[in-house]
């Protein structure tokens, strides 16, 4: 299926959800618009446009017709995926084990696993980066960074 067709369908689905949510909030009247009034209008607007994009995608030659698989042709897709998952892990761990440790670990994994540095290099860069950013933010700028259960 073409790229536009798929994406517009996704937006369409999202749009319908938004419209539903807005209606649930209450539309009010024209004279006294309710909480859901404006989101409803916005939701209808982009859902309608998504529909137009979808219809256009059915016409050959209009819009962005590339096939989905071609979008990722030649792309090393598991790298962004790995980094994304690592970032998610970072977010979850950040407040539990504190900034310094989390940064160190995640950086290490990224440099070793994703970028294929040697253990030595990866460790060095991780420690230097985590340490210096910690110094910069926590000590110099006094921005409070999470300290986690180990106390630092």
């Amino acid at each position: 299926m073409g790229a536009d067709r798929v994406s517009s369908l996704c937006w369409l689905a999202f749009g319908l959800l938004c419209i539903y949510g807005s209606v649930m909030l209450g539309l009010g009247t024209m004279r006294e618009p309710g909480t859901g009034f404006f989101p409803f209008l916005a939701g209808c607007f982009f859902t309608l446009l998504a529909l137009i994009v979808f219809v256009r995608s059915l016409v050959p030659g209009r819009g962005f017709q590339a096939r989905i698989s071609s979008l990722w042709e030649g792309a090393i897709w598991h790298r962004p995926l790995a980094v994304g998952i690592l970032m998610a892990g970072y977010i979850l761990a950040l407040e539990r084990i504190g900034f310094l440790l989390t940064s160190l670990v995640v950086l290490l994994i990224m440099l070793k696993g994703v970028e294929k540095f040697s253990w030595w290099k990866a460790l060095l860069i991780s420690i230097l980066s985590s340490g210096s950013t910690f110094l910069l933010f926590h000590v110099l700028l006094k921005a409070t960074l999470p300290t986690g259960i180990f106390g630092f």
Partner: protein, 504 residues
């Protein structure tokens, strides 16, 4: 007091060694903060508030102000170098600034941003000195209907921002408008779409969102390519803008200053709006709009000037009436009150050295910033030489901390990651993030003004046509819409689109 007299009074205060020192501290920290993505002037100013206890009120405001406009200087740096907006107001600089960097023109981009900021900031202060009272009077005339019409005008300008498909750009604007409603509804006090997450009650964070949509998405995009291809493969060219660059940018800077200043005076306006509008204006008046998004220097010069002019403009309501136009000014207000000074209409009469001293210090500060930032350009350009495989984890780390530091909350970091993924997918499927962000920013103001107007007018829509300002904005918006639909313009757009597709 006449212009020169007050300037001399002010400069004599601003050039006291104490004030000079704190001014420098302020702009230095401000630049640093601006460069670091996420952490912004708001967080830093609030952290440094206790430092101001021991110094005089004037010195305190001088330092805090330095942080504020210093941040706008630094904010463009990461936008240009790595497509990560250091400040929300620098989001639009990503569009052309980053492209310029990829073409080896990072130096001129950074340079014109610094110069533009300096010129706009300084001109802004001059106007502030001379025209403060009449400008404030105009700003006050903006009530709910006027704001609504202004927002309509703003959204209409969005059409001109669209690179490729207008329909898709409009769709993104729609989504952005919708997401702008997430949070506590001011008018009814009801929480919308917050899914019981308290951090959502104030709306989705724009800073993490922008960082994700532009910066993280870019990183994901770059990761897909094999390590061998360097991201910035073009050789680094000149370090400073050439004469040609200056000729191209001079009007952009001028227009940006005007636009930015006016939008800065309006409560709720500010740097973000100013930079977006400036970009759109530049694209509208340009002879070859297709170069925008591909490294047009006007696309950097205009917005960067605009956001600095807006920073200067924002001082007018604060100093003349004691009204803060945004969170930063609210902090300045707080600092003043901590020192026992209540800003208001009487500020000029009761504390002239504070008033003129702060204004004069802004001239000094802007000059300091120029001197500080220009030599750094060489340093930043060298940073680009670092292999991407080492660079990107560092950038990522900075983004993660930066997003966290905005509100000391992991929710913001999660928002950044989420929109990073969304931004990445959007790029793949050819949807543009700029209209989305602009609509997201405008949406709350637009909605609140709409509903307040309807409350005042008891539901009659005529209120939007009742005052000259409101009517004017709507007529302008209408004209722009017609312009967009006109056949001649249509052809021009198609030309842009086909050329864009050719360029790939």
């Amino acid at each position: 007091m006449d212009f020169m007299g007050s300037l001399i009074t002010g400069l004599s205060v601003a050039c006291e060694p104490n004030n000079l020192f704190f001014c420098f501290m302020g702009v230095f920290i401000g630049t640093l903060i601006g460069v670091l993505p996420g952490l912004g002037p708001v967080a830093t100013m609030s952290i440094l508030l206790p430092v101001t206890y021991g110094i005089s009120a004037t010195t305190a405001i001088i330092m805090l102000s330095g942080i504020y406009y210093g941040a706008y200087y630094g904010g463009s740096t990461t936008s240009i170098l790595v497509n990560i907006p250091g400040e929300t107001a620098s989001v639009i600089t990503c569009l052309d600034g980053y492209q310029m960097a990829r073409q080896g023109r990072a130096g001129p981009a950074l340079g014109i941003a610094a110069f533009g900021s300096f010129i706009a900031g300084t001109v802004g202060i001059i106007v502030l000195q001379v025209l403060a009272p009449p400008l404030v009077a105009v700003a006050l005339k903006f009530g709910a209907p006027e704001y609504f019409s202004l927002m309509v005008l703003g959204l209409t300008i969005l059409i001109f921002l669209a690179e490729k498909s207008v329909i898709k750009a409009l769709m993104m604007a729609g989504v952005g408008t919708f997401l702008g409603t997430v949070g506590l509804d001011t008018i009814t006090g009801v929480a919308r779409f917050s899914f019981d997450i308290p951090e959502f009650l104030d709306g989705l964070g724009i800073v993490p969102m922008a960082m994700g949509l532009f910066g993280i998405a870019e990183i994901f995009f770059n990761l897909e390519k094999s390590i061998k291809t360097d991201v910035t493969d073009a050789k680094i060219g000149h370090l400073l803008p050439s004469l040609k660059d200056w000729m191209e940018s001079k009007w952009a800077i001028a227009r940006g200053t005007v636009v930015g200043f006016f939008l800065g005076i309006l409560p709720g306006g500010g740097g973000v709006l100013a930079s977006f509008v400036s970009y759109a204006v530049e694209k509208m008046v340009s002879k070859n709009p297709q170069k925008f998004g591909r490294g047009a220097i006007e696309g950097v010069a205009g917005p960067e000037s605009a956001n600095n002019a807006a920073a200067s403009g924002g001082y007018i309501p604060l100093l003349t009436l004691g009204i803060p136009v945004g969170v930063v000014q609210a902090i300045l207000l707080g600092a003043l009150m901590l020192h026992g000074i209540t800003p208001g209409p009487m500020l000029l009469k009761e504390h002239p050295d504070l008033f003129w001293g702060v204004i004069a210090s802004m001239y000094v500060g802007n000059a300091m910033l120029l001197v500080l930032n220009l030599p750094l350009i060489g340093l930043w350009v060298k940073v680009l030489r670092i292999p991407y495989s080492i660079l990107f984890p560092l950038i990522l780390l900075f983004c993660l901390i930066g997003a966290y530091a905005v509100n000391n909350s992991t929710v913001d970091v999660a928002i950044m990651l989420f929109f990073g993924v969304v931004g990445y997918l959007m790029r793949k499927f050819e949807y543009e993030p700029a209209p989305f962000i602009m609509a997201f920013v405008l949406s709350p103001i637009m909605e609140q003004s709409l509903r307040r107007s309807l409350i005042i007018s008891d539901g009659h829509f005529g209120i939007f046509f009742a005052t000259p300002i409101s009517l004017g904005c709507l007529i302008l918006a209408g004209l722009l819409l017609i312009l967009a639909a006109l056949p001649a313009f249509r052809k021009r757009r198609e030309k842009i689109v086909t050329e864009a597709e050719d360029m790939g």
